[in-house]
């Protein structure tokens, strides 16, 4: 197995996000279940309300997924930050593999996890829409909505490599001599993602234009990961 695959395998196996500090307490499972059930009741209530009202704009329900790109950025950053928070950065950075390989492994693990999370959210959202449509008596439109949602997901998953790359770069900068630049870069990153959202949501882009933007975002992602690699190699603070 290649080094990259081994790093990805071990990173995927690791479930710990942030290690418990001594003296801290984790939420008991019973309460997690109670809060989960409460959230489910609230969502079901909202769905029932929407279904009774009968004026749901189903296309716009899918749009909320844009917000998930910010989540992807934050999660990617946290995957780097946890090495410092969990005091494993010394082990991670002294591995006999290039910084590029280490960060590429983090990048792919984030992407794999992100696609999985997106699939779960897509299914949950589809069930939500299905319920509302059934209440509104619009069962015949289900297939159209499912396809539209699928297209929407392909679009935003195509842009998630950029969001993940930006997240990794931001947190590498935070752990480097360039830390003062972090807030500025973070705000800039959020603005760029907002501009992307604005382009896809409001501008009437052709299929070719969308593909062009996605291709450019992938090229920029390569540059972003390379920059993060250079900073981690030359300017990281341990």
């Amino acid at each position: 197995m290649t080094t990259l695959r081994l790093l990805i395998k071990n990173e995927l196996r690791s479930k710990t996000r942030h290690r418990e500090r001594s003296g801290s307490t984790s939420m008991p499972k019973k309460w997690i279940t109670i809060y989960g059930a409460l959230a489910l009741v609230i969502v079901a209530g909202i769905a029932t309300y929407l279904g009774i009202q009968g004026e749901t704009k189903f296309k716009e329900i899918w749009y909320f997924n844009w917000g998930m790109l910010f989540w992807a950025t934050a999660r990617a950053g946290k995957s780097v930050q946890k090495e410092w928070d969990n005091e494993t950065a010394g082990w991670w950075l002294s591995l006999p593999y290039s910084r590029g390989t280490l960060l590429t492994a983090k990048f792919f693990v984030n992407l794999i996890r992100w696609v999985k999370t997106s699939a779960v959210i897509y299914i949950a959202l589809f069930i939500f829409i299905l319920y509302v449509m059934a209440l509104e008596g619009k069962g015949s439109e289900i297939f159209d909505v499912l396809v539209k949602g699928g297209q929407w997901y392909v679009l935003f998953i195509s842009l998630s490599p950029f969001a993940i790359g930006v997240g990794i770069l931001n947190w590498v900068i935070r752990k480097s001599m360039f830390r003062p630049m972090f807030p500025l870069l973070w705000i800039l990153s959020l603005i760029v993602i907002n501009i992307l959202a604005w382009l896809f949501l409001t501008a009437s882009l052709t299929g070719g234009e969308m593909l062009g933007i996605i291709a450019v975002s992938w090229i920029v992602t390569l540059g972003v990961v390379r920059l993060a690699t250079h900073i981690l190699d030359q300017h990281a603070v341990l």
């Binding site: 196996r13 418990e20 005091e87 950075l93 002294s94 006999p96 030359q234 990281a236 341990l238």
Partner: protein, 236 residues
């Protein structure tokens, strides 16, 4: 004398703080070398340069005849200062991680050491005491067949029984004399007998160095010598 680490006028600063000031040293190979000195004297900074985790501002450094960096680290086992192990690993999981990612990691040696250090192999790291976790981290280093082992404060915050176990493991390793072991520590009293050579660091400089026996004959015990050095004396 074979040299494992060679530094020539190495300087390292972090912002306005100077960590290392024009260090020039030759660390001999196939020995246990103590890097001693008070907090902030530059011991960890020197180790990080040896591993290529940080780059010197000026000067030259070579480790096992090569420039430090990730592509030299397959030859080095490193226990970082203030490190923790991955909380969701079991001991067996940690050994699997070692086999996957650490060149020269010998799983059978690791199992032997775990038995000897009384570590339950099914135990999860986040359920371990600090001493048990420290022993596991030391095993991850000692079970590697590499020419250089770098241990940065391996005894910090560890209870006496665990410390004794660790020192016993090191003595056992030392008798095999296959490797060079660099150890920085404050626990000089217990670890003193381990060292063949010693480098005393203070304020980013190497103040004194030499074979441990010679230094003891000239200055008394290492504990006394560190005491003098920490209070500004040069001991020369």
């Amino acid at each position: 004398m074979d040299v494992v680490v060679r530094c020539q006028d190495v300087k390292k600063t972090f912002g306005t703080r100077t960590a290392l000031q024009d260090i020039t040293v030759k660390i001999p190979s196939h020995q246990v070398v103590g890097i001693l000195g008070p907090n902030g004297s530059g011991k960890s900074s020197l180790f990080r340069l040896i591993l290529g985790l940080n780059q010197p501002d000026s000067g030259e450094i070579s480790v096992l005849g090569r420039k430090p960096g990730w592509n030299n680290n397959h030859q080095i086992a490193y226990l970082p200062d203030r490190a923790r192990w991955y909380g969701d690993h079991t001991v067996e999981g940690a050994f699997q991680w070692g086999m996957d990612l650490l060149p020269g990691f010998d799983a059978s040696k690791a199992n032997e050491l775990a038995d000897w250090m009384e570590i339950d192999k099914k135990m999860r790291v986040d359920g371990m005491s600090k001493g048990q976790e420290a022993r596991l981290m030391l095993i991850m280093c000692l079970a590697r067949n590499v020419p250089l082992i770098v241990l940065d404060e391996p005894f910090t915050g560890i209870d006496t029984p665990s410390r004794e176990r660790i020192i016993d493991a090191l003595i056992d390793r030392v008798t095999e004399r296959e490797q060079t072991i660099l150890i920085s520590t404050h626990e000089i009293y217990e670890a003193e007998g381990l060292f063949d050579s010693v480098f005393f660091m203070n304020e980013g400089r190497v103040e004194l160095s030499g074979p441990a026996e010679e230094l003891r004959a000239k200055h008394g015990s290492m504990v006394e010598l560190v005491g003098k050095m920490s209070h500004g004396g040069r001991g020369r």
